[in-house]
Symmetry: C2
Amino acid sequence: MSENRQPPRRSDGTRAAILRAARERFAADGYERATIRAIAADANIDPSMVMRYYGNKERLFAAAAEFDLRLPALTGVHPDQASELLVGHFLERWEGDETLMALLRAGVTNPAAAERMREIFAAQLVPVAERLSPDRPQVRAGLVASQILGLALCRYVLRLPPIVAMERADVVAWTAPAVRHYLTGSVTETAEVGLQVAGDAGQVD
Amino acid sequence: MSENRQPPRRSDGTRAAILRAARERFAADGYERATIRAIAADANIDPSMVMRYYGNKERLFAAAAEFDLRLPALTGVHPDQASELLVGHFLERWEGDETLMALLRAGVTNPAAAERMREIFAAQLVPVAERLSPDRPQVRAGLVASQILGLALCRYVLRLPPIVAMERADVVAWTAPAVRHYLTGSVTETAEVGLQVAGDAGQVD
DNA sequence: GTCTATAATTCGATAGAC
DNA sequence: GTCTATCGAATTATAGAC
């Protein structure tokens, strides 16, 4: 992507400051309410500089919303431990990097942000599910995403009091079994069996 | 709530049309992008009528975002069946009423909408959890909310392809066991046992 | 490279005629 | 009750001086 041949451009610090301020604002306010003026003020520069460097608001967001989940491979790991590692890793990434918050807050109302989330899902989470199970890995990854994103939504965005109050270790202890079920569990196909869903006891533990 | 003494006001139809259009717009665009002008256009009236009836945008949303989940009591129902009924009921409410979509899309960026979601959670979902388990019902309800809202987020808002493609019955079959785990399952308390979380591998990294 | 000035829209909200 | 007209503020984006 970047030409690492040339010396660092003179305005490289400004670009980085803009990007950092943009992530903060998009994370806190979502796409619409995060204004270029506010981002520029946070970065201590003139609003026109943002336009000069990134062209328009859409491209600024695209640059600010690049993200690597840094998911571990988890090959050969026991499903129980893999699910715990996954949930813990997600919580760390959520609390340590504002980009995920920016993606979620913006993705709910901005189509480009939603598309970026689908890309991250397909390119980064689905491969992990594929390594853990050859059976419908996309569906499994989607279910894991639903639980992880729902958890982040309730804990960091909507701030439901009982979820906010939980210790991180308790969050992992509660949700890891569900994630394990999605990653490696099985479910009776309704199309084949008719009415019976989840057999006679959808065991999770 | 309403005085059912008086005859129906002459402008009662207009009020209802405004509310219906408001729900549509808030659901499709979120709080910021849903403009009073667009809502008025949908309702085939003048924008100033919206202001006359509801004062300002904030109160219009408050009126449009009143919602009853209509959750069944589920007393004396087997946990497996209760969780299936719950998930199925939520999916029906999501697909049959735009208010939930409006609440989710607005709640991510608008504090009043987020507060409304917390109210609905506390007043409508927590009591159901209390009827199914005396052990930490608020936490259990919160975990159920995280899975249900995450599912709605991925299926109806972000539209992750594998989740969108699933039949409703398959969604229920997959997620009901996780919801059952949250409603009636147990988890080793980290505070009591120290480091060990849900097994023998507690550390996250 | 950085900033001033401003164009061109769009929004929520108000005043007042009928 | 309904509408016309408009205010004041805020936004993205551009043009151009230094």
